[in-house]
Symmetry: C2
Subunit: 243 residues, 2 copies
């Protein structure tokens, strides 16, 4: 019998935490951590919360794609460092880091000043093009992840999560109207369904890799971000797709 995998989940009270709470396979033994259990700005609290875990899924962050510096610095920048460092100190073997498509957000932008930088498809190894401080903070977390993978031997999988909507359905016209006009044409292609999100995180928890960056979007009409890395590195294939 395969031993069950002990997984500590930060940001467990957020939207994606809810997807995991509702659906995580019983192959995993979850430890749901909200801010009151282990604030990500408190390194010692994180180390205690991770003790004995096989893996960490790091979801805690200010999730506003256009969050201010004052919000991004503690929750995302310091938080990402402390999660990786606490994982190292606690002897955790794997970190799944919830990165974001916003690390590459400018590829979504319709802007002919940078037309030479718009590839036919956005692969995860293309140059970083964040669209806000939030996106920069996700790029920061990925670079930290690579460091902890290569220098400290932790398996790190960075998931560039797409658009997980409030109700789990493809983005509505109301949600679309809140996005900047420059991304309107491409944003519907960024949807990530709840079940694709769940399967992606579960795949990241068991894949035989050392370090990976993978796009997390369903196979939508108008999809712009590659699925190739997820298939190749995690064996993950989205089952949904919006139009």
């Amino acid at each position: 019998m395969t031993p069950r995998i002990q997984v500590a989940v930060t940001g467990a009270d957020g939207r994606i935490g809810g997807i995991l709470r509702n659906g995580l396979s019983d192959r995993f033994v979850p430890r749901w951590l909200s801010r009151s259990d282990a604030d990500v700005t408190n390194l010692a609290a994180l180390e205690r919360a991770f003790a004995g875990a096989d893996a960490v899924v790091h979801l805690a962050a200010d999730a506003d794609a256009y969050a201010s510096w004052d919000a991004v610095l503690p929750a995302n920048v310091i938080g990402a460092h402390h999660v990786f460092e606490a994982a190292r100190r606690a002897g955790v073997g794997r970190v799944v880091f919830a990165s974001s498509n916003h690390a590459m957000g400018m590829y979504m932008w319709d802007d002919d000043r940078f037309a030479d930088a718009q590839p036919a498809e956005v692969r995860t190894d293309a140059p970083l093009r964040p669209d806000g401080l939030y996106g920069v903070s996700k790029a920061w977390g990925e670079a930290l992840g690579r460091l902890y993978a290569e220098r400290h031997g932790i398996v790190v999988v960075c998931l560039r999560i797409g658009w997980v909507t409030a109700d789990g359905r493809p983005p509505s016209s109301t949600e679309m109207r809140r996005e900047p006009p420059a991304v309107a044409r491409r944003a519907p292609g960024m949807w990530l369904s709840d079940r694709d999100c769940l399967a992606l995180i579960e795949a990241a928890l068991v894949a035989d890799v050392r370090f990976a960056i993978v796009n997390g979007v369903s196979d939508n009409v108008g999809r712009w971000f590659s699925l190739e890395e997820g298939r190749r590195l995690l064996g993950w294939e989205p089952r949904d797709g919006g139009s």
Copy 2:
């Protein structure tokens, strides 16, 4: 007559600041800023110090490639944000950011666990592979730079500075012995001579680009990092090379 370019230089009292003080062309009107003039953790002080400048050369940082988190967070992480943001607020049109080869330091590492990640030559668009928190902080600064270039219209040139030695000569055997053994084979190829460093920064101050990341190493025997981007994007060609 070409108008002279007003340049604010952070970290002007450091090693590279000294190279600029000794040699900067009179095409530029320098404003030498040390920590006592404008601490990089003080956004308002930076904005005042940058007022009226055409360009900023951001050298201020903890320069220890293996600096601790407590040193890197204020000097490099917060500092880089504040410099870009202060430049935006002050209406500065260009920022030259002293990044580092340590953003890609693991390419230097002799480590067969990651042999598949060792290309024949390290181009600047290869995946980030920092070798410490210092290197991660430089990757952070580059991602911020791309954001400020694309969203705020500032020209940003990131220079992945190689090894500027204490006396300006190729690394001595004593300096080499201080490096981790895993990088001994490749480290001599990272030398950047003083006059190549000066010409590189001057080229970055006038090049017709929107955003660029360029390696700053002399044309050394055993050079491992590409010079192609510097030639193509900045018209910069190193004149020196160590063996």
